[in-house]
């Protein structure tokens, strides 16, 4: 059975949990606590499996290689377990879905994850209010770009691309979860909130939610 190194609140791990659930793949969760003891992801045992010291990581088979980076893991799952597909069949559509996923994974999330917020407060001495403003700034900039891309495209359906959930939805839902947790206003993104509401009705998204994880606090 595949092993997923995960932390219930990690946005990137949440993405992969959705992908696994959409494909109906059983897996074992190996919790890696990002805060306790200065962060278990930095421990040598975990680093020998994943030199990046980040979650998630997926070990498809016991004793086999450990895969890193949530987007790369989801692409792997889509190649090895093609149905249901996370990407459309046509190259332009695939590019659109990947770009939407990367608008979250390369433009919003990297600026707002735990280690960056820790650097801001611990190394740069910014105040709590400045940290919250930083967080809200990148969420607003990023989600506005996603909203504009979704709202003006005829390819947007019940989900980010057509009427079945895919790679972009796997990234968008955890990002919106984070935005809500940090009390970011979402009124300006009606297409995003409509799509996230549709996702949240599906069992796969419910099973992958932070509160449903074995390591949830």
């Amino acid at each position: 059975m595949p092993r997923l190194y995960s932390y219930f609140r990690s946005s990137a791990a949440y993405r992969v949990r959705i992908a696994l659930a959409l494909k109906g793949l059983a897996y074992e969760t190996v919790p890696v606590h990002l805060v306790k003891n200065g962060g278990q992801q930095h421990a040598s045992g975990y680093r020998s499996a994943n030199p990046q010291g980040l979650v998630p990581a997926l070990q498809p088979a016991v004793g086999g290689p450990v895969l890193a980076q949530s987007l790369a893991i989801m692409e792997y799952l889509d190649e090895v377990h093609p149905q249901p597909a996370l990407l459309p069949a046509d190259a332009l559509g695939r590019s659109r879905v990947r770009a939407l996923a990367q608008m979250v994974a390369c433009e919003i999330h990297p600026l707002n994850n735990l280690r960056v917020l820790q650097y801001l407060t611990q190394e740069l001495g910014v105040s709590g209010a400045q940290k919250d403003a930083w967080y809200a700034h990148w969420v607003a900039l990023g989600l506005q770009a996603v909203e504009d891309s979704l709202a003006r495209s005829p390819d947007t359906g019940r989900f980010c691309h057509g009427d079945t959930p895919g790679l972009a939805d796997c990234c968008l839902v955890p990002q919106v979860f984070n935005a809500r947790r940090f009390n970011c206003a979402l009124d300006a993104y009606p297409t995003i909130t409509r799509i996230v509401a549709a996702c949240e009705q599906l069992p796969a998204f419910q099973q992958a939610a932070p509160s449903a994880q074995p390591d949830a606090e």
Copy 2:
């Protein structure tokens, strides 16, 4: 002929220029100056083509859709123009190469691009020295993870994966170019510097370099 919206010094545009050159694809460069007049990427004309207001963007055919996000653009190029391939044929290898690319594109570059450095100085009032330390911190953390992943894998060859350049090399070379530009020490990354030196011997990488662009300053 495809149109590439590019800025000579943009690391993400540099990745796509390498991919286009490796595949031998001719294209027209449309320069988008990221600094002049507060940034041409924010102008409404460009935003109507790419709502994200970021470079690069690729328009594969005149009048057709505009593709965003460098990794999505390179995957598109690899699907539509499969030879020479930017990704290996096996799912595990593809996942490894994508993860290496994302270790640059999702973990290092997003923290160090122009708009982030501008926020640090203009909104948070950090000093020049603090900004440089921030830059060097994320480069060191990120490149060390890439170095560890490359150094311990038998899949690493003359390039990041085997003996032909691919998606990971397209991301690594621009990141190292940036690190050098900001005087980050690279002594701790012998595998990375060896691979980058091998890449820089190839005409495709030379043609894609910032100094070789029509908008170079």
